[in-house]
Symmetry: C2
Subunit: 144 residues, 2 copies
DNA sequence: ATAATTCATATTGACATACTAGGAAAAGAG
DNA sequence: CTCTTTTCCTAGTATGTCAATATGAATTAT
């Protein structure tokens, strides 16, 4: 029941881009340093996000990445689902893969469904904007 | 973010024992047939539950397994955590393994914490007794 | 032309998952 | 005491996933 590093890194990656895109787009190399994550790994993760239309890339020198939307428009759930695939706790709940023959008689399914809703409820309640604000608060605290 | 077969089977196993322990203890062979799960795999799972004191075993002919408590005293969360280990969505939240140096400055942690609470909230809300009742209702529906 | 960047694909090692296999130990029935 | 039925214990195995690394091509500002 763990969220993979890929999912967590994706959140940190987008947060880093959101918070560091001032004049120039954000280079992966810098994010890698700031976040202490291998750049090569970040490349793989961001390619998913580019394909999903969550960030746009600018190639060549002075290139980098930019968000395509406002931070408030990225829920954490969107990000996680994009890079992790479904967050459903059992595959019976994945729309496309409901191969379980016991669906009808399965009483556990009721709990898994509720669990699924609870999970999505939390991760879809917060957005990158929330993380940005928390981070800014934390930085303030740190300075004082 | 998936619950493993081991966890799900453990729930079905205990439910099967709860619902079939009439006169004699429940033999794994029968559970395996009823639930369509390999008996060898069930052996491994039940050994965890025996060690945890959730079931007691009776060896030899006419042997089998019995619950040690009332069905209402097993939450689904207890069962899952016992066979799966922690259900925490990030290992930072596992008490013993909080090796993450970013703990202090990590704003995502707030979300993971809330997610953890949501997950445990659901799985600890329901017990084997609930499953038994739902199963009995389902069986009634089926007959009518 | 050069250098800095993204893009694409392949490979790797470690670990976990989901089993299967073989046999030992206990205990009731005869 | 033996046979059979059950649990108990340990090891093995095939497959897949995770978490990266590695290599190099494509693009583009300077």
């Amino acid at each position: 029941m763990k969220i993979s590093t890929k999912g967590r890194y994706a959140v940190r990656l987008l947060l880093d881009i959101a918070m560091n895109d001032e004049v120039e787009p954000v280079r992966l190399k810098d994010t890698a340093e700031r976040q202490d994550i291998s750049m090569k790994y970040l490349e793989q993760i961001i390619s998913i996000l580019v394909r999903a239309g969550y960030v746009k890339s600018i190639r060549g020198p002075q290139g980098g990445y930019r968000l395509t939307k406002e931070p408030k428009d990225y829920t954490i759930g969107m990000i996680l689902r994009q890079v992790e695939g479904s967050l459903a706790p059992v595959s019976c709940l994945d729309d496309d893969v409901n191969t379980c023959e016991r669906q009808e008689e399965c009483v556990s399914l009721r709990i898994w469904r509720e669990l699924n809703d609870a999970i999505n409820g939390v991760v879809d309640k917060y957005t990158l904007q929330d993380l940005i604000e928390w981070q800014q608060e934390a930085n303030l605290d740190y300075c004082i």
